[in-house]
Symmetry: C2
Subunit: 151 residues, 2 copies
Amino acid sequence: MTEIYFEDIREGDVRELGSYRVPKDEMVAFAHQYDPQPIHVDESAAEDSIYDGIIASGWYTAGVCMQLLVDEFLDHAASVGSLGLDELRWETPVRPSDVISARNEILEVRESTTRDDRGYVKNYLVAHNQDGDEVLSWTATNIFLRKSAAP
Amino acid sequence: MTEIYFEDIREGDVRELGSYRVPKDEMVAFAHQYDPQPIHVDESAAEDSIYDGIIASGWYTAGVCMQLLVDEFLDHAASVGSLGLDELRWETPVRPSDVISARNEILEVRESTTRDDRGYVKNYLVAHNQDGDEVLSWTATNIFLRKSAAP
């Protein structure tokens, strides 16, 4: 189902990635396994914290955004991983039943200078909650294959 | 079980966070939910990819490292979240049954200039596999409460 290769990606491209309503059970289950801090897993400790209630692990919020990015973009593209992220920011805590909407923008495309089968795409993802508050943003560099390298 | 407050954290502190063996089932289940790209969930597509086999979602690797950081450090500290990360890097792919070991180093501590109950701690986390290859690193800024703000 690969429709988008490196050559098809343009600086300035913007993709709306849709939205996802955060189920409390899923949010807390994630934190139990990967980020079991009291503010993420312990309702009463979270009530007494500076957040006045349980909030999502930032890694869970990142996972929700990644899921939207894969469904709406990477799954249709010759994407083969990422070199990493810069500037991952959690601006506003995510709470149970929040509706997270994400958007992706292509910042920069460059061919690999050492491998002729691929190129690198720097892109910005930003997510907001139902009130329009920014909850997360990141800048990532992803690897995409060139059409000439298609099997 | 809070033993470590902002005042107890010193630039240059190094903490070994232990290690974790990656179960294939867990690694793939994570990817199915949060990062369902073929290289992370489809054995035969991954065999045919540039990775010659299934690899972990970078977000799963981050989750494994976070779990080690919480268990060995944050769970014993007055940690109340993070402002974000810079320079999250995935250097070497993680594969099933890899043993991931992580280490944390404190880079910088600074008091909040606007809130007298907290301070900010910039810290570096690095993780290696059983062969000594670096698999992940990040630089994060975490929020810690001061002893004077303890309940």
